[in-house]
Each structure stands twice: as C-alpha cells, then as structure tokens.
Symmetry: D2
C-alpha cells in the first residue's frame, strides 16, 4: 500500500522562563511558558530516517532563552512573533512557525516582591510563514461568578427534560477567549487589558437570559471597545451551582445553599466577527 | 458596528457513566465519560435571548443515561453514533451532533471484581449530520518506554545546539492516536485492539533513528494491519530521560542513571493516509 | 493470631458548599470544602459487621448543608466547631469529631459579581471531644516570590556539593501555615488577616540568608503580631528558579533569565512556640 | 516574647530517577521518586542565620544519584535505608533521616520495552536515627471495584438520613496501605507482592457489609499471610457509584446505570496490629 505523510509538525512544549528586569528602584518580573511548533521540509525524518533538516527541540528551547536575553519578553505577542521570525530566518527548511506563550500573573507586593495572581493566564498565539503573520491574543481560566441577573427559562421542555426553569440562579464560569487583529501595529498590552476589562464588566452587568446571550454580549462588547479586533471566540463552561434540596430535613432552601459541581458541566461556545458596513 | 455570530455550538461535557451488564455467572463493567456538542439553529439564544430552540444541557445528560439503559454502550463508536442520531432525530433544530466518548479501562480480577487498568483511554468521536456520519477511534495516554534501539543523530548543529548526539538513548512517550475509517461497517473492538497491538509492537521492535521515524512506522503499521483505516494521526511527546552527570562526583554514568523530566518536552506529530493505487 | 483494631475513624471528604447571603444592596458569597472525621464506638462495624452505631457519611454531608442553612458559615473556625459539637451532641457513640474546612477566595467585582482570587485557601481545623475543643487556623498555597534580598551561602561544601553560593537569588515559595490559639474567644477573621499580612510583609522585607531563616522570621512575626497564637507551624517549599547557562551561546546571563522548576524542590519546615516568661 | 523553635526539619522532595540495569539479553527498568528529610542540629540556620551545618538540598539530590549509581535501587526499602544511613554517617549534625520512595510501575512488553502500569505506586518509608531504623512499606492508589457482594444496611436512621439501604451496591475504592515489620531482615519484594495479592483477593471475595468490614478483612488477611508484618494501616475512600434515577423518563434502573462521583466521598480508615498471644 502506498502511504503519504499528509501533515506533520514538531516542536518543543512547556519551555518555562522567568525574566527579571532590574530597574534602579524596582524589579519587573515576567513568567512565561512557551510552546514552539515548526512546519516545513522535515518529512524525510519521518519517512527515510534522514535527520539532516531536523532542528533538535532542545535547540529550539535554547533559542527561547537566547531571545529572552536579547530582547523584551513583553508584550508576549511581540516576543512570540520575534521567536517565530527568528526561526524562519535561521532555518530555511521551515515554512511556518507557530508560537504559543502563556503568561502567568504576579501581583506586586513591593518593588521586589510579588504574589501569584491566580490561575488566569494571558495567551498569545503567533503563526508566521514567509508571507504572513497572524497574531491572536487571549485569556484562559478567568473564573467569574455572579449571584443575580442570571436566568434560564423558555427552553425546550420534552420527555427528557427535568431541569427546573430558573429566574435567578448563580452563574459561574471560567472564560476562555481568543481574538484576532485586523492590523499588525497594535498596542497589545492596552488592548488586552481593555478587552478583559469590558468582558468582566459586561459579565457582571448583563441581565443574562442564558450563558449564550452573555457570551454574545461579552464578545460584542470587546469588539466595540477595541475596533482593532476583527474576531473573537469565547468558550464558557457553565459551572453549575445546584441548590441543595433541604425539604427532607424540614427546611426551605431560600436559594442560598448550593453545591458547586465540576462535572458534568455545560459548555457554550461562539465566534463573533465584525462585518464590513 | 454590525456583528455576526459566525460559529456557535454548545453541549454537555464530562457526563460520567458506569454500566453494569449482569450475566448469570459474571458481570461486565463499562466506565465512560461522554461529551456532547450540538450545532444548529441556536443563534437566537445568543443574539436575541430567545431560548425556544435551546435543549438544556441537563436534558442532553439525561438522554445519555436513557440511551445507556436502552442499548449497549459498547463498542463506544456505536454508542456515540446512536446518541448523535437520536439527538438529530429528536431535535429538528440540530444540524450536527458531535459526540466524544472516553472509555476508562478496568482489568478483570474475577467474575465480579476489577482493577483500574491505568490512565490509558480508548476514544471515539462521532460527528453526524443529516447527510453523513464520520466515525473516528483513538487512544489517549498510552505510555511506552524502550531502553535500546533509539538514536538521534545527524540533526542540525549550529550555534544554538548543545544537545549531544545519542546512539542509544531511552525513548519514552505517551501516545495519542486517532484514526478514521473508509467505510462504516467496522468491527470497532477488533480493529481498535489490533491497531493498538501493532503500534505497541512496532514501537518496541523499531530501530528508531528519531521519534519522527518511529511515529511514521507505527502509523503505517496500523494502516497495513487494518485496511479499513484510511487515515491515522499520531502525536508523540518525547518525555526526555536525561543522563545524570556524575563526573563531579568522580563517577562515570554508564548510561544507566537518568532523570525523567515532564517539562519541557518535545512534541512530534504527523498524519498518514493511504493513497489509492 | 489475635488481631486488634487499635485505631479507626471514618467520615466524609470534599463536601462542597456555596452559601449566598442576600443583603438589600449586595450579596456575600462563601465557598467551602468541608471534611469530617469521627472517632468513637464504631469498631463493631469493622470487626463484627454490626452497623448499628454507624452514621452514614451521606448523613454527615446532609448535616453540613443543614448547618449551613441554619447558621453563619463564617468565620470557618466557628462553623467547623459548630459542626463538630453538633455531631458530638447528636451521636453519643462519637468520642471525637475532626472538621477541616477550606475556604476558596473570591474577590468582589460589584455588589453581585465576583472573580476567583487564586488557589490560596484559608483553612480551619477543629478537633472536638466531650472534654475539649482544639481550633487551628491556617493558609495553604500562598505563592510568593522575591527578586532580591535572598542569599544562600556558608553551607556545607563537600564532595557531593556542586551548588554555587548565591548572594542574590530568586526566592519563590508556596506557604503552608497552621497556627493554634492559647484561648478560645478569638476574632478569627481579624487574626487570620493580620497573621497573613505580617507573614507576607516579613517575607518581602526580610534580608534572607536561607529559607530556614525567613521561615523563622515569618513565624515569629505572626506570633508577635497576634499574642493569642501560641504556636505556628510553617512549611516552605523552595521552588527553585535556576539561572540559565547562556555561555555556550556567547552570552552572559546577567542574573535575569531563569527556569522555574517544580521538581525537585527543597522543603523547609519548622514549628515555633511562645514560651511563658 | 521568648520564642522557641520546637521542631524543624528540611530536605529535598520529588527527586526523580530512572535506573536501567543492563543484562546481556534484557534490561530491567526502575522508576522512583525520592524524598529526603533531615532532623538534627540545624536550628542555627533558622534562628541565627548560621548555615555552617546546613547540607544543601541540592547536595542531598546528588547523593541520591550517586547512591543509585553505586548500589541496587531495589527493593526500595533497602535503597531508602542505604540513603538514610549514608546521610547519618556523612553528616554528624544529622540526628534522623526520613526517606520516602515511590516506585512507579512498568509492565514488560519485551526484553527492552515497557508499558506504564497505571497510577498505583509502591511506597517505602524509612526513618533512621543513630540508634534505630524503622521500615514501612505500602501501596498508594490501588484502584479496585466490585459489582456484587457489597451491602450497606442497618446503620443509623434519623432525621438527617436519606440514604437508602443497599443490599447490592457497587464498591469502588483506591486503596492506601502502609505496614510495619516486626524484624529487619525481610524479603521486601516477596512480602510486598504477597501482601498486595491477599488484599486484592480479600477485596474481591469478601461478602462486604460495609467498607469498614472489608478494610478489617483485608488488613487481617495481610497480617495472617505475612507474620513478619506487625501492623497495617488502611485508608479506603468510598468512591460512590450512584444509581441514576430513570423514573422521570418512564424507565426502571435495574441497578445497572450509575454515575461515578469523585466528590464528596466517604473515607474509612483503620489500623490493625497483631497482639502477642
């Protein structure tokens, strides 16, 4: 049988890095996890055991540290792009480089001390070829909860439906968002901060009729606030907080005692774009 | 600004299920985690807070349990397909249903007792529309290690390369494989077992010049063994076992003392198809 | 052979709970994970299959929710004590009840919305018998990092030592602290906040000669700040940030590029008490 | 206020190690995670910043690798003891060394290839002083499930009890066991294998009236099988598999469709000793 390797890529995952920037009166701290993937003329390694085009993944890791020494690592979108372009320039057998960077948050305590800011992460994903560069920014694991202005009513009721309609439920989620830009010269830090701010604000203020509706409101709010964003994708798990049934114990649950459950959970996803007028 | 919801789906994740099949002299046990995603006419929930087409994700969960009661849950490919087709038949607003099932392994100890078989999982993914059904099978987290017949030599050496060439290294990985079928009437259990068997056998026997080459050998071995498979995708992390430098302590490491590290790791991927002759 | 059941206990772990307190203009939110363990006259269940004294662990879970409905769940020390005393009063076969409560942090965004505050947790542990109640408070996973005023020098150098002395290293840790009180009538919230505050402040300000010395400084600072605390135990992992060797690439690491590693890590522990003068 | 450091220890956690033993026709593979803790005259590091007695935890790590090079690493009880005694001999300021070793299982595929055997781990814990050595062996995360001969009836029924009595339920658990020896010259491998075997056999065969009773049966079976064991401690979570209520859908659950839940779970513990006759 004739076989064909129709798709292949390889790289290094989970390259961890802390960079310290020493100012005269304070330090800045950046913690990143970098992932690299290369496409290109590497098929011979798979099919004929010829490694001559193969850049060792250990070498890729070294390049991350060398680049981190030689240039700023923030904004992470620019650092990711620099790594991608360096790899393309250095290795002619590479046709595309995909760089993903996760930034872990630290809250400043004093000029030289920091506290971990939680498990929310800022994300940059850059895919560069010799012809183009695509930059995406995002957020992972932004965990939000609201205790009012969340309902879920008017959905399909059939023989498999036992869920009670809720006019006032807890809405808890862990937001994953990714957005793309319509042009390359973006103030990534300002855009990311503003995009995150309006999504949080919208989540809190929104009179939610469903997770779907809130997702759409958050996405359009981000697109409105930052016209440089052309597309946003949101993924919102519905981390159910179920009211505990206290009637067997002669008590009424006044919609105040809940069990949060991790599984199963709803998962609501959507992608919104700006249409040219 | 005019916005458009260009893509949306929603569903239920991590629906856990144990089904017991009671034979006269023994029991069979199946443990699954099911995920459901629906595409269709659900946009109004996002854009106009109209939930009338929305099937609650809790209802989807109930359907999984009802289906599990009413039909066999194995092979998981068939169970996934049954759930997908049921959802399409029941809810006309649905255009596509995507079902993912993970099967957790249990090793039989006696007719009624079992031991957890590890963290390897069998996977089925079915995407059904009113016109078509696509079935994929796979394996997650099949952790293998070999202590000889693994080399990595002849790769690019440049100013960023410090990795030593290795003629005899440890090769450890956690295989993720997914394959598709060229026709629907497949003995999924037999095919999955055989596909897994030849991949393990190839991993062990292969005189590896790189992870890439072993990936290709494993993939083509599966395609050869099971002609009903038309395409296979493999993802192999390279879980490095690094030799410990004992020279500072006046000792030679005779290639026998290693540190296994989880991060960073290489990640090698490839997709192989059978070409019509 | 004669066997003896010399020690036994049982209970319910990971009872999750969210309680909402609805004020006229805002809501308060508390998320807890509760664990219960009972000691007492339960040996017959082990040795003679007699369950008549056994309180089902499901019943214990129900009691947590009933108590949460009927009384405040904060401070968690008081809630833990209330559960313990309720169990002792209700079930005469119980000789001791041990309650552990983890509180998960939420940062307020507006009167009705919250953001997850990270993976730090406040802990209460109460062990009550018919004669006594012991209350302990604590912190888990308070992740701190400082970029200066941390050295490690003057330690043992022998044939197994290759670690370089460091006059200015990164010091990163995830603090676990537990403390006990010298009397029962404590303002637990104020004490916890203050104890946490002085430990963070000491960590940041301390001119550290070792993790050991900083641990002692943090512990004594807490004891000084809160005389009601009679004993504090601290456990500080040393989450190493290792300088990357860039010399193979013709670069100098100006003590600014590091790899954070999770394993292996140092682990420094100590318990400090106040001695009566 | 006068403070006293009443207890302190420090060491290195999660030292990972793979050792290969090269026979002429096959290789043996051992994967371990080692933890070290030292007690002794280290208080000055805490209280007066005097590091002269401090052995760097990096040095401890090196000693593990040196010892692994110079002697067998199996049985892990003997390797742990060797490390402990080496540390006591080398560092006179040490009064006690506590070594914990986890062994990760690999199943042989051929003379040079292996498959990960799951997340069960063998454990050894050695605490050595200049006067004594205490050796404990154990098992972590041995996940077992039985589908019959498990009941739970006759327990306390009161106003907080809603759990239904079960004459035939699923019993799933993840065994944690630790045992001590009455004398030092033990064939640790044979003893561990036999102890594990009889506990699994007892779990499967036992006509269980409660988790408590099965725990006691497993523990006494191990003590009977291996008289060299003087004490065994077992900790058995009750990983509930809850029957799904299908009556709202017009179906009967014939005790065959279950939801496995991770939280909350019961936790049953007990320690059994052999009493001198």
């Amino acid at each position: 049988m004739p076989f064909e390797l129709v798709d292949h890529s390889y790289g290094k995952s989970r390259v961890r890095l802390v960079k310290l920037t020493r100012h005269s009166e304070s330090h800045d701290l950046t913690e990143l996890t970098v992932g690299i993937k290369l496409d290109g003329d590497f098929g011979a390694a798979y099919t004929t055991a010829n490694n001559k085009n193969v850049v060792a993944t250990d070498t890729m890791k070294n390049i991350v540290y060398v680049q981190a020494r030689q240039r700023p690592v923030e904004p992470i979108e620019s650092f990711a792009r620099a790594i991608a372009e360096f790899l393309l320039a250095e290795y002619s057998q590479t046709s595309a480089a995909e760089i993903e960077i996760l930034q872990h948050g630290w809250t400043r305590l004093d000029p030289y001390a920091f506290q971990r800011a939680g498990e929310e992460r800022r994300v940059a994903r850059v895919t560069a070829t010799r012809q183009s560069v695509a930059v995406a920014s995002g957020i992972e694991n932004l965990v939000l909860l609201k205790t009012t202005k969340s309902a879920f009513e008017g959905y399909v009721h059939d023989r498999y439906t036992i869920l009670n309609e809720a006019s006032d439920r807890i809405f808890a989620t862990a937001i994953q968002a990714t957005w793309r830009y319509s042009r390359p010269d973006v103030d990534f830090n300002a855009c990311w901060q503003e995009c995150r701010r309006v999504m949080i604000e919208t989540f809190a203020a929104h009179d939610s009729k469903s997770v779907q509706q809130t997702l759409y409101a958050m996405g359009t709010a981000a697109l409105k606030a930052q016209p440089v964003i052309s597309e946003i994708r949101l993924s919102l798990p519905n981390r159910h907080c179920l009211p505990v049934d206290l009637t067997p114990f002669g008590l009424e649950n006044k919609n105040d005692i809940f069990v949060p459950v991790d599984e199963p959970h709803g998962l609501i996803e959507g992608t919104i774009v700006v249409r040219p007028e």
